[in-house]
Each structure stands twice: as C-alpha cells, then as structure tokens.
C-alpha cells in the first residue's frame, strides 16, 4: 500500500497562516514546558535545588500535555492531512512512550547494581552483571528449559490439529463441543495452577493422583523428579493453550473450499492420503501463523510456574520469566534482573527473526 492512499480525498485546505503559527506555538510551547519541568525535577533529583516536588508526576503531566498538544497541532498545521495522522498518532505515541522509553531506561538499569531497598540507589557497575549472568547456571538452565517448553508446541500443534479436524466434520452438538474446548483458554492461569497443579495433582487425594494409582503408579508425585515436573508443567500449559491453536486451525479449515476436497475424492484420494496431499499443504500458512503466535505466548510462560512449583525442583521447571521474577522477589536486585531480561529479549528477537524468515520461505509458493 505504499503507492498511495486507498481512500482518495481531494481537499482544498486553506489554512490561515495565523492558525499554522498557533499550531507550531502549541507544539513548541508545550515542549518547552516539558523541558522546563524536567530540568527543574532533575535539578532537584541531583540535589542542586529544592522545588518541593514529591515525585516525578509533574514531568508526567507535562509530557501528557505535550502529547495532546502535538495531536491537536497536527490538525491546526496540516489540515486534512493532519486529521488522517490523528488516527495513528495517539496509538503510536502511547506505544512509544510506554515501550521505547522504558526499554532505553532498562538498558541503563541493566548495567548497574541497584537494590531497591538500598538507600544508596543506583550504582553503575559496568559489565559486572554480564559476567555474573555468564556464570549463573540457573539462568542458563532456565533458557534451556525454554527450549524444551517451546519444543512441546509440536505435540500441542498435533493435538490441536486433530481436534480442529474433528470439529470440522459433520457432528452433532458442535456448539457444545466448541464451547467446552474453548473454556480452558478463558481461565486465568493462576486459577488453573491452583485447580490443577495444587489440588487435582495433589499427591494424596487429588483425583489425578488417584487415577495414576489406579493405573498402577505406586507413589504418584507429579513434581518430584525434574523430568516429570517439567512434563507436568508442559501438560498444564498445553491444557490452557491448545484451544487457542485449535480455533485458529479450525478457522483455516473452514476457509478451505469444499470443491477441493470433493475433487480430490473424485480423483480417488481417501482419508490419510487426502489429508497429507490436500488439507495439510493448504493449511501450511495458517499452521505457521498459529505456531509462531503460540511460540510468542510460550516464551512468556510464567504464571503457572511461579504459582505451582516456584521453579522447583532445583530449577527444573524454571522459565526465564519466573526465574527473573524470583530473582527480584528474593534479592530485589533490579539491575541484574533487567540484564537477564534484556539478554532474553535479544535472544528472542534473533530467534523470532530467523523463524519468520524461514516461515516466509516455506509458505512462499514454489514456482
């Protein structure tokens, strides 16, 4: 869409020069106000002068004023064009001020030793956090766990695809099954971790423990050994998120034109064959979208781990997020935690870029 507007509007804006000047004055005036307040607050923070500010709120208010003035001035200065900018500008400003600024600030924190309960405040400590991270076996263990958790998506995908195929056939009570299958996704992970992790998997009276005993597992303990604990977390996460992939895949299946499957049937393809030759290739783009989004969500996995195992036993179930969460909770060291998070972000961005490039290559029709 870089060629031009989809919606052509011919306007004859006759903006008076007074209006334009007013708009510019609005932007620069509010920017000046913002700068003034910020400078005053910085002076107070460094101890050069005291203006009686209790916190940094005045700067925040000045920033909001500037943002509103910027939006308003777009219309004043640029007329019709400005009204179009007004569609995107608020969201863009919102996102920029809430991500780009904290990220830059985070970079600053990442290279410092900052214990929030320490009255000395922030101390720049150069590469000390990086060195500490490099030799922190628990962090690397958490990263490795993330790889395992992400690999579990393959199984989740297979199950979700199977369920989507079933829901797409001629069945009765389809609405009931759809609602029932969707419900796990709606539940809050915290409630799920109590419902399943703490009560149903309880080693003595939990119904699942009883079931396991009935199957002949003498002493069911779902969080005892590292492997089983990891598997249990994977299963619980799968339980919540399989509906998500299932619905995306179901939408994809319903978009496949009936003629194609019918034609393949006429040509003699049956069941398994028709699935691999027709359905699966057609579903490839949807599948890849679903898996990519699922990976993104999986990389944020934390709630269940924090609440059920708190990373135990011995860090076997730790995700990066839950590890950093505990790192902050236990030692309230903001600097080290931020460094870990930043490193994680870099890894994610690299991994996702590679994955998206690969996905792009796979889905591009071969000619």
């Amino acid at each position: 869409m870089s060629t031009g507007d989809l919606l052509h509007v011919v306007t004859s804006d006759s903006l008076s020069s007074g209006r334009k000047t007013f708009g510019r004055a609005l932007i620069w005036g509010s920017a000046g106000l913002l700068a003034l307040v910020a400078v005053l607050q910085t002076l107070q923070a460094t101890g050069a002068a005291d203006f009686g500010f209790a916190n940094w709120r005045p700067t925040l208010y000045a920033y909001c004023t500037w943002a509103v003035a910027l939006c308003w001035a777009q219309v004043l200065i640029r007329g019709e064009q400005g009204k179009r900018v007004l569609f995107v500008l608020p969201a863009a400003l919102f996102v920029i001020s809430l991500t780009v600024f904290p990220l830059l600030f985070g970079l600053l924190i990442a290279f410092s030793n900052w214990n929030l309960s320490n009255p000395d405040g922030r101390q720049f400590n150069g590469m000390a956090n990086v060195i500490q991270m490099w030799s922190d076996p628990f962090y690397w263990n958490a990263l490795l766990n993330m790889v395992w958790y992400t690999l579990a998506i393959v199984v989740e995908y297979a199950i979700a695809f199977g369920l989507a195929l079933l829901l797409n056939t001629q069945i009765r009570a389809r609405k009931f099954f759809r609602v029932a299958f969707l419900l796990p996704l709606m539940l809050s992970p915290v409630a799920v971790s109590w419902m399943i992790g703490k009560s149903m998997l309880e080693a003595r009276f939990g119904p699942l423990a009883r079931l396991a005993r009935w199957f002949g597992w003498e002493n069911p303990s779902f969080f005892g050994s590292p492997e089983i604990a990891k598997l249990t977390i994977m299963l619980m996460d799968a339980w919540t998120f399989i509906p998500f992939m299932m619905i995306m895949l179901l939408a994809g299946l319903q978009a496949i034109p009936k003629e194609l499957t019918e034609a393949s049937r006429v040509d003699g393809a049956t069941g398994w064959h028709s699935f691999w030759e027709i359905t699966f290739p057609l579903m490839l783009p949807v599948s890849i979208t679903a898996i990519l989004i699922r990976i993104i969500f999986k990389l944020k996995l934390a709630d269940i781990v924090i609440n059920v195992t708190a990373g135990g036993p011995g860090g076997a179930t730790d995700t990066v997020t839950s590890f950093i969460f505990r790192e902050y909770r236990d030692r309230s060291n903001v600097g080290y935690g931020t460094m870990l998070a930043m490193f994680y972000l870099v890894l994610i961005v690299i991994a996702m870029t590679v994955l998206m490039k690969l996905a792009d290559r796979w889905t591009r029709p071969r000619t």
Binding site: V9, F177, P184, S188, K198, Y328
Partner: protein, 306 residues
C-alpha cells in the same frame, strides 16, 4: 452388524455402514474424552467448594450421591446464603479485589480497542510517512510489541512507577494492560477494516462527511462485531493477567489473580475456601465463554485466514 435388518442390504453396504459406525464411534469418543478433559477441572473446582474436609480426603466426586454439599467454602468467603447479609472482612477484601479486576480489565480493554481501532483504520486506509517509516513498518512496529516479553518491561516499569508514584495504583496497571493487548487489537481490527470496501466512505464523503465523520457514522457500526470480538479477547487477557499485577501492586490495587495466588502460597488444609475463591475468579469468564463464544472465536480466527 448383527442386529436384524428390515431391508436386506448388500454385503458392500453392510461393510460400509459398519465402517461408518466405527468411524462415528471414534470421532464422538475422542470429542467426549477431550470435552471431559476440558471440563473436569472446572467441575472439580466448583464441587470442591461445596465439600467438607472428609469429602476431599475420600475423593468424593458427585454431589448428593457421594457427599452432601455444604456452604463451607463460600462461607469462608462470606458469600454463602447465611453470611451474605452479615459483615465480613473477607468478603470486603474479595469485593475490593474483584472490583479492581473489573475496573482495570474494562478500562484497559476500552482504551486498547479505542486506540487500536483508530490506528488500524488509519493504517488500512491511508499511507503514512513518519520519518523513514511507511505503513508496513508502522504496522510491524505495533505488532512487534507482541514479541516483547513482559519481563523485559517489568523491572524498568517498577522503577519508573516508583518515581512517578504510580506503584500500586489502578492507573499504572491499566496503562500496562492497555499496552499489552494493543497489538492484538490492532491485528484483529486491521483485518476487519480491510474487509470493508472503501466505496462506502467514498459515498459518504460525496455526501459531505469528513474523514472522521465517515469513520464514526459509517464504518464504526459495520466494524462493531469485530470491535466486540477484540474487546472480549482483551477483557479475557487482562482479567487473567498475573505477572504485572504481582509485581507492581501490593495492597490497594491488586487484582483477583493476585489474591488467588497469595492464598495458594499459604495453602494447607482449607481446600474448600481456595476452591470457592478460584471458582469465583473463573466464573465471570466461564459465563463470557459460554455466551460470547462466537465473538472470541471470531476474534482469534481473524488473523488466521488471510
């Protein structure tokens, strides 16, 4: 097939029908098994909230058959019929958390749908140039926020909020939640607006409406179902959010998930009260899930099919 048939079917037809029945049996078997897997934890939680200690120990499952339902769990929350009228500090606590959850979820979803729809509409209709960024870059910028794990923002926000005196306030949470669902809303809404033909606005503009007039009076009503879908999806996500709430709230503005989680830590014997609390936390979503299921599915399917 062993049962007597009224009409004599040929050998081939009988084989076909047997196969068909077997097929049906497997399909429904799998469907019912999975429905059971999905529903049993919910059933377990709700029934446990009516159990007494021995019922839990014995693993009784079916109310009135296995055990006699009691209001024990709900009484400990102050929500049972006999305590609902009386003063209850636990209930006040619960109501406060519940209201916090409702307010943050509703406000942030509304904000996200508002900001996101505007941005999505703009991106689907006009071509922009912010510095070096064109439309595709701006879209990518918005969507790339989805990749950003919350943990990266959490600690910087913690420090910033502390300086801004926004720690433990609803506004602080609302801002973060809006940010976290905005990419999803934009993704859904872009799809919605792209499906609406531009001729509609052109006609409206010929009739004398401006860009915003056409958007507000013509396009918004058409895109409303999509907006509802996006709204409900963000409602679910923000209602369930735990990580940020656990980090940046402590006493005044913590939400229901934080309350549930703080009880799990000190758990031990009072299964029924935990079950009641969990049930109360998930009930609104179950209601939403049952009645507004098609919107959720519509929202999630939006991006899947291009």
């Amino acid at each position: 097939m062993t049962e007597p048939a009224i009409f004599r079917d040929s050998e081939a037809d009988l084989a076909f029908r047997a196969k068909w029945f077997a097929n049906r049996l497997v399909v429904y078997g799998v469907l019912i098994l999975w429905a059971f897997i999905c529903l049993f934890p919910i059933y377990w939680t709700i029934t446990t909230s009516f159990k007494m200690a021995p019922n839990v120990m014995q693993g009784n499952l079916i109310p009135w058959v296995d055990f006699q339902p009691k209001w024990l769990g709900w009484r400990s929350l102050g929500l049972s019929p006999d305590t609902i009228g009386a003063e209850s500090t636990v209930r006040d606590e619960f109501t406060k958390r519940f209201l916090n959850s409702v307010i943050t979820a509703l406000t942030s979803s509304t904000l996200a749908v508002g900001l996101g729809s505007l941005a999505a509409y703009g991106l689907s209709r006009f071509s922009y140039r912010f510095a070096w960024m064109k439309n595709d870059d701006i879209s990518f910028f918005f969507l790339s926020q989805l990749i950003l794990p919350p943990v990266v923002l959490a600690l910087p926000f913690l420090v910033l909020y502390k300086e801004l005196a926004l720690l433990d306030t609803r506004i602080g949470l609302i801002l973060l939640y809006t940010l976290s669902v905005l990419p999803i809303v934009i993704w859904i809404m872009k799809d919605q607006f792209a499906a609406i033909p531009t001729e509609l606005e052109e006609a409206a503009m010929v009739d004398g409406l401006g860009v915003w007039g056409a958007f507000l009076t013509i396009i918004l009503p058409i895109a409303l179902p999509g907006m509802v879908a996006a709204f409900i999806l963000s409602l679910v996500l923000t209602w369930n959010e735990y990580f940020f709430a656990a980090l940046i709230t402590s006493t005044h503005s913590n939400t229901l998930p934080v309350m549930v989680a703080s009880q799990t830590g000190s758990q031990g014997i009072s299964w029924w009260s935990m079950a009641a609390l969990s049930a109360a936390a998930i009930l609104p979503l179950i209601v939403i899930g049952i009645f507004l299921e098609r919107f959720i599915i519509k929202g999630m399917a939006a991006g899947a099919v291009k």
